[in-house]
Symmetry: C2
């Protein structure tokens, strides 16, 4: 079994040094505590509610800079971590990105392909499928927040062999009926079940410039059911789940039914 943990944090917008310090402390603590896979929120080094592109740029990082190297150095053993950051590309463009790192370094960087709402004012969109990285625990795909709500994109990662989606998110609070899970979780459950793929979403906490967050951190099993979740105030120690990440590789459901073989790409082109 793989020990997953999603650890909500409350980044402070623009406080790159303080946010980075909290990320490093968190990664070191969780890695030492036995986490195999750690997922942190979207834009965890920068905060989210920017007022200008200039402000976003002021707390952006190079993917090959010292900060992500420090993430790697904070990890011990085989622990893998996925976390979001504002990325400054060599050509000066900004991306809403997430890196997958282990003690050996940065293994992959994903640039959010589906930018939500005002993110379009600050960031350029990514232009690649979600990366799928072979790790000591299984194949992890990285996507960010709104990316999860495009079933074409989650399917693509599954077809590329992902055992799990690691999804840093910042879910702005939206209305939902009493007793219901956040709508993004329902979408994640469906993505998990139709692909037999674990989905781990790590949301942020803490109000930022008046924006409230769903605080909907959730780990979903490959059968689509919620394994663990942490509502507001309950995620101080992180949301932990022990999961067999490779159990979903068999896509056969019965003797004659198979989630992938039953697809009809002849009808829908992909």
């Amino acid at each position: 079994m793989t020990r997953l943990v999603c650890r909500p944090l409350a980044p402070v917008v623009g406080d790159l040094a303080g946010n980075q310090r909290r990320v490093l402390e968190t990664l070191a603590t969780l890695s030492t505590a036995g986490a195999d896979v750690i997922v942190l929120p979207e834009l965890v080094t920068s905060g989210y509610v920017f007022t200008s592109q200039r402000e976003a740029a002021s707390c952006a990082l190079a993917a090959d800079g010292p900060e992500l190297a420090q993430w790697s150095a904070a990890l011990t053993g085989d622990t893998v971590a996925v976390a979001g950051f504002a990325e400054r590309a060599p050509d000066g463009r900004l991306f809403n990105s997430a890196a997958l790192v282990d003690a050996g370094g940065v293994r992959a960087v994903h640039r959010k392909a589906h930018l939500w709402d005002r993110e379009k004012l600050f960031f350029a969109p990514g232009s690649h499928p979600a990366p799928v990285v072979e790790t000591a625990f299984g194949r992890l795909a990285v996507m960010i927040c709104y990316d999860l709500e495009f079933p074409e994109y989650t399917r693509q990662a599954a077809l590329a062999g992902a055992d799990m989606l690691a999804v840093p998110v910042n879910w702005p609070l939206v209305p939902r009926p009493t007793g219901e899970r956040p709508p993004e979780v329902v979408i994640g459950q469906a993505a998990a079940r139709v692909n037999r793929m674990v989905v781990a979403c790590c949301d942020r906490v803490g109000t930022e410039r008046g924006q409230e967050w769903t605080e909907g951190t959730t780990v979903i099993g490959a059968d689509g059911w919620v394994l663990a979740s942490g509502g507001p105030g309950s995620a101080e120690d992180g949301v932990w789940a022990d999961v067999d990440l490779t159990a979903g590789r068999a896509k056969a459901l019965t003797e004659h039914a198979d989630l992938f073989a039953d697809r009809r790409p002849d009808l829908y082109g992909a």
Copy 2:
């Protein structure tokens, strides 16, 4: 507002005459009672648990035969009905099909494109996208049961302009955690929300040759939340919901977010 009703029935396998009689009574009663759109279960004229292709063939209908013309004749006013039947094609092949009919006749026939499990022993798969039919109440797409579990296929119907998916189903009962909705409903909720499209699933009832059914009839709004559902024993009068079928046509969620415009077909090919 459009008055939708899903009416579970318990077809008797092989009893074509009796099943057809119950379908006609149901259509006439619901149409007279003010239903605008009626959805009945999958294979409602034939039953489901066949022991041989020969048995399936014995209760198959031609799409242009007298039985579907009788469905049409049972409807009054603008009422539209969708129901499943075993179809015998002119070339002799059998399909798991559903027809959309109104008082003017058969408007469309859908042949299930994703055959579940042992259905593959009895039926040929359909080879077309779900039909999308302009009706007096909005644009209705027709798909059947397992078709709903392929997000490429539901997306395709949404992009073709569907306001609603009418989904006759026969959901074999599968385990689920206490308090959870059937997994197929969760998948339907996600399909509704990511596409802003109403989803109405009409399940069958009644054990057949030892097979139990989920009895999970559910109407889901374009925001992904369940509007009405009927568990075991509660669906005698049908599951009714008043829905604005065209409200989901606007795919914009905020000033800068739009569910369709935000798609990245450049990345996933469709």
